[in-house]
Subunit: 426 residues, 2 copies
């Protein structure tokens, strides 16, 4: 029912996933003589770098998401379908949907990664991860409920446990979550309670490796740890998590009873990759050719977090937006060349640097030729994130929310939605 | 564990429900020598008059909700507890919570109403109502999904059904929902689809009585119907709904197959009222004394939508915010008098008028001494709603969103959250 090849001579480009990779690929094909179909199981593009701000009540879901069809509405060679892909057949050039199928001449797979528990999927219930808006709202619910439950808890020991927040994983997401939770407990919640002192909340960041932000240079990790300490976050390093249950979390030989445990430790590829029948890496990502094609298939590309490709230094490219954006544009370029009968070109990543925030007016930046931290890094972080947000309205509102939060120490979205009696955590 | 009577000599005022009634009662007791506890099963006060705008993607949940404890944080004689009341014992002056109990010297019950299906609770699944943020997000999901499904539907008849929106109940909520859905389909969605023409969506408003807005004067009902017709809404009057199933809705002798059916037809009192063991009206509301006390109990008040009290004209006061606000303040005043040993005073409602909007720049207003419609009524509607929204941040953002929507014909919050494969409706 959705085979569109017969309708016209223009080749059909099917893009699965409208994250940064898929969206920038579609945009880079504007004006080309191709028919593009973008499918996604969400109706919105999500600005994932700010998802932790939704989880910590600083922004609303609508501020960091934008309807895919609104983004692409003026590009006449694109149609957008809300659909979930369940399998890819590279031989017959077909993608199976949950309710139908769709053929392609060129395929761009950009379905990304989701959080993973190293084979312990039972941990998810007690330590949810952060990949979608629903995940963020669930985290927000647990964090805010912990304070509410503590306010009503007569037993002091239990109250202390309820006010313990354990964040597992010391990468950028874990660091940003820990910083934001420390900040709201010390600066925002502190005036609003009568029984508890939210400022006494314990925020513990657990990292299995020897330092936080392992993908950053050593000195920036050290600066990030210092900023976290100033906010009152305890960073436990070299501390592998060995078990997570309803009652407690085991970290090395320590046992933590935390009211709220959050997961920011690992990702695995979208399960769609397994249906390809090609070689995957340990995290389930597709080992792509230098031109981003699937080995043996010149008409099928994988980009963004779902692709495993080594950079100039021989290490795999990181799962960050700039890689996805550049790969999206590069694949559009390669499809244009293929339509003209020209050979495909290998992808080269131009690393513009990394940024991570640690609460109010603190951040670390690594632009390769320069590394810095503190207020300037934070200003750079603000600028870059506003710039890549899609839509004037979202940019304006996010800037307003940040300014508002900065000057008033308030948070815009302190809402608990869903059932308050649902078990929030231990 | 939560008996607070022994702690101090000041009488304990327990307010159940932090809608307009409960909140204004708490605020009006600021500075009094009483200890106030506000309990609510939500952590936020919700501005219900704008809930339909969340349901139709114009506003985000955070724009019309504010944490109760943030609203009351500076009022030192108040504590706020997130808790759900399940029963009231007027004799022992105790409120049973789902997890504990709490005693009072004075009780203010302000738990409002919820939507009701006239004994057909099985209809809720196919025709959800609008009382909470979760309800609004579910409506939004169904409305937006209907367009998405239609875009992928090859069968023309089925596509037309998917683009049929049936709103049951011609009061203000039904009129506002119908107007907003017609508006987004004709003005917002129309550019973003390739297969369907969202402007062809059928929006049907069904009212059992002889005219829409039955609580308004005749001529304003007529004007509202005219505005609805201009937006392309069909208003079926004298059209009682007799059955709602997965497949179809029966309205009189007509059968409608609608992709989305929404309920705005009836309310019933919060079930807490039944635990009082006092006389209730047909909708389950408490028949209160003129001083808003429960008959025979001078220390227990019921206010807002949960109270049934006749106005000067002998008709029951309407379930609108101004009634709740004035009753909240009046009860605060009566508690102050009771503390001083003075007799309680009867409540008198000062009717400031009614307002309802029907889409872009159209509304009807009835201020008693003057009735008007059109742009001026719409401007009055904007002003009044911004004024009663709580919090500068929310006022600013809502004004921005409205201006943005007015000039760009966009909607800020077109997000589908939750499972897209969950059955949205028929």
């Amino acid at each position: 029912m959705m085979d569109t090849r017969g309708q016209s001579e223009a080749p059909h480009v099917l893009i699965v996933g409208a994250g940064f990779g898929g969206l920038y690929a579609a945009k880079a094909l504007a004006g080309e003589l191709v028919r593009i179909t973008v499918i996604d199981r969400r109706n919105h593009h999500l600005f994932q770098p700010l998802l932790y701000q939704v989880a910590t009540a600083a922004l609303s879901p609508g501020d960091i998401a934008h309807p895919i069809r609104a983004i692409l509405s003026r590009q006449k060679n694109v149609r957008v379908l809300l659909a979930e892909a369940s399998a890819v057949n590279l031989q017959s050039k077909k993608v199976t949907l949950r309710d139908g199928e769709i053929t392609y001449d060129y395929l761009i797979l950009a379905t990304g990664v989701r959080h993973a528990y190293f084979g312990h999927n039972e941990w998810e219930k007690w330590a949810p991860g952060l990949k979608s808006l629903e995940d963020a709202l669930e985290m927000r619910r647990r964090i805010l409920l912990a304070f509410e439950k503590a306010e009503r808890e007569p037993d002091e020991k239990r109250r202390r446990e309820l006010l313990t927040f354990l964040i597992i994983g010391g990468g950028p997401t874990g660091v940003e979550l820990a910083g934001a939770i420390a900040e709201i407990s010390r600066q925002v919640m502190v005036r609003d309670f009568r029984t508890i002192d939210p400022g006494e909340a314990q925020v513990i960041l657990v990292e299995g490796g020897p330092r936080v932000l392992p993908s950053y240079p050593d000195d920036l990790s050290a600066k990030a740890e210092k900023s976290l300490a100033q906010l009152g976050v305890q960073a436990w390093k070299g501390a592998p998590v060995t078990s997570i249950s309803e009652k407690e979390v085991r970290v090395g030989d320590r046992i933590v009873v935390a009211g709220t445990t959050l997961w920011a430790a690992g990702v695995e590829a979208s399960p769609l990759a397994r249906s390809l029948g090609v070689k995957l890496d340990r995290a389930g990502r597709v080992l792509v050719e230098p031109d981003l094609t699937i080995p043996g298939h010149h008409d099928a590309f994988v980009i963004g977090d779902l692709a495993d490709l080594a950079g100039k230094d021989g290490k795999p490219l990181p799962g960050v937006c700039p890689v996805a954006i550049q790969q999206g544009r590069h694949v559009a370029h390669n499809i244009r060349r293929a339509c003209q009968g020209k050979p495909l070109r290998p992808f080269e990543y131009f690393d513009k640097g990394s940024l991570a925030t640690i609460g109010r007016a603190a951040a670390v930046a690594d632009f390769g030729w320069i590394k810095f931290s503190g207020f300037l890094a934070w200003a750079a972080w603000l600028f870059v994130h506003i710039f890549f947000l899609i839509g004037f309205r979202n940019r304006f509102v996010v800037m307003f929310e940040w300014a508002w939060a900065y000057f008033t120490f308030q948070r815009a979205a302190r809402l608990i939605t869903g059932d308050i009696n649902a078990r929030p955590s231990s």
